[in-house]
Symmetry: C2
Subunit: 365 residues, 2 copies
């Protein structure tokens, strides 16, 4: 393998794939980045066996070939290369990077041992709108479970039903749901995509108008720009989320999003350091205002926020973190809160937007 390129080319490749490099694998070669010089250009590739990322860069290929290089060291060398023209030559499993009057030889792994990131030969291909899909990820990915005791809750349910696409996530205490139109689509798909994959899609999708996904029963490939993201699907049954979303309510509020966020953040300061670590915030909803009156050994807070109220007065307690998380991604000036009592699931929606909701279970106290 012999290639001519710039520091920018190498940086772009490394930065795109590096987050798929395994950090905890016992298989040493998974700590590598694979470079494949082909007629198409230079492929960078990394995988942790669950997620794989590839990018093709149009550099000058003088001789084809493959190497696998230790990701962290290669990335640090690349970041410190000069802006001059760079020539890379492989020598067995190693490479020599030539720049100015100097060169750096990096010891690599045997590329034959690097796991193949297989294509999905006969999968359906579905076109998704780039900015919309990216926004749907932002609206839902935060509600995934972090603990891996029940794998289905660490992923997002992607459902495509002809002209409708939806993403759902839940950690069993809260649930986020976002849907959108998929004009002209005739195909169907349902699968649970790991949240790490979705975070990478969110990071890598730029201002592309569309991205393609190619789907099978166990895997999905996202294609956009010159990037491919391959992911395994999480096996298991996602809960029937539709039946937990209430269709009616006894109390409906319209609240200034920013003011509510500030209020809850202040109230949470009082309980954050306490030994119960509960971080509870209690909304006393009455007479078109939300009142919060709380105290701890650190002090007291008394907040009053004017709102528009329809229906009954009610007092509900929440985990403040869940309210803060969801209010941070609501972009409308006002947020709707719907509830049917202190022990019923509470629904938050942006004003004038039927495509998104976040449901939070109250705390019993």
């Amino acid at each position: 393998m012999i290639i001519l390129c710039t520091k920018e080319d190498l940086l772009s490749g490394v930065n795109t794939v590096q987050r798929a490099v395994s950090t905890k694998s016992t298989l040493p070669i998974l700590q590598g980045i694979k470079l494949s010089a082909t007629k198409e250009g230079l492929w960078f590739e990394a995988t942790d066996l669950e997620l794989g990322i590839r990018i093709l860069l149009p550099v000058n290929i003088q001789e084809e070939g493959e190497v696998v290089l230790p990701a962290r060291l290669f990335a640090e060398v690349v970041r410190r290369l000069p802006d001059s023209s760079i020539r890379i030559e492989s020598s067995g499993h190693n490479i020599n990077i030539f720049y100015n009057d100097s060169h750096f030889e990096l010891n690599g792994y045997d590329p034959e041992e690097y796991p193949e990131m297989a294509d999905i030969p006969s999968g359906d291909v579905i076109e998704l709108p780039g900015p919309t899909f990216k926004n749907m990820i932002k609206q839902t990915v935060f509600a995934c479970a972090v603990e891996e005791t029940r794998p289905v809750f660490t992923g997002l349910l992607l459902q495509i039903e002809k002209e409708k696409i939806s993403l759902v996530s839940t950690d069993t205490h809260r649930l986020a749901y976002s849907k959108s139109l998929l004009n002209g689509n005739e195909k169907e798909f349902s699968g649970i995509i790991p949240s790490k994959t979705m975070q990478e899609i969110y990071r890598l999708v730029g201002d592309e108008e569309f991205l393609n996904i190619k789907v099978s029963k166990s895997r999905v490939i996202f294609n956009f720009n010159n990037i491919q993201v391959l992911t395994r699907l999480i096996e298991g049954q996602f809960p029937n989320y539709k039946q937990v979303i209430p269709q009616t309510c006894n109390t409906k509020l319209l609240i200034n999003t920013r003011k509510l966020l500030d209020t809850v953040e202040r109230a949470s300061l009082l309980s954050r350091d306490n030994y119960l670590k509960t971080n509870t915030v209690r909304f006393n909803i009455e007479n078109s205002s939300i009142n919060i009156n709380q105290y701890s050994e650190l002090g007291k807070i008394s907040e009053q926020l004017e709102i528009e109220q329809e229906g009954e007065d009610v007092a509900i307690s929440f985990n403040a973190k869940y309210i803060i998380d969801l209010l941070k991604i609501i972009e409308t000036d006002k947020v709707i809160l719907e509830t049917s009592g202190p022990y019923s699931p509470c629904v938050f929606r942006p004003e004038n937007n039927e495509d998104y909701l976040c449901l939070v279970l109250p705390l019993r106290n």
Copy 2:
């Protein structure tokens, strides 16, 4: 105590003093920030008994008084206050912060127990040029020792001898020295200032043309803008640094600063992860070039850098970190390197600048 102010006032006060708050003291009240409402305005004050910082803010004082508030919680509350007008009233040791229709009550400490930050009644006052002094700190503070086994090496020697001011730091492996003119000064001072104090001075000095220092045998007060920084001096004898700075050399080089930094950073990547943790870089100086040829289990590097050379060829080994640290603060395009052999102290200076040098002891290998 009753005051009217804005969020910006409170943020400014908290951000200025917060780094002097003790993080490891067993005396709980040192985790507090003291607020004193006086006729002059509102003083914010924090100390860890070694370093103290005070700032006076011109807010509307309705009633004088003092409180001491837990620093971290107060800072977080302040950051989350609305931009509306704010009223603070003390009630015993506690305060109530009023904003919009809400209020936050914070439990405080007994201000009587807060240690006094005493003035230096009869100390000499010396005026220092702000930007120059700030630059001198940057040029020297990095070479202080981190370990506290020998306290004098954790500080910077400040010497004022009439019209000359100098700062010196050393961790015994390297030494940084910076001097400047102090036009018209008649006074003298010599003392070892803790590096943490100097870092705070560096952070807090803005574009003030001058700052004053008031000195005594055991303490110093820096005054600038509306800020006072009080510090204890470190007791002990600073080494006689002048006798270790070589006055002659057998080899003198003129080197592109940026290229040398990049070269040493690349070379250090090879040894950084090795089990010896030495991070050695070896300069082979001959025929007007520096050659670096190194290898480890990770790979090899071969760098060649053209330089201007006077005098003998020589090969010297350094701790790469020390070379990287000093090259990062040299602002001239070219750096001078002077040495008298592989085991003699090596001096680095900016080109055309007799006011600064950094001396590094070579490694024996």
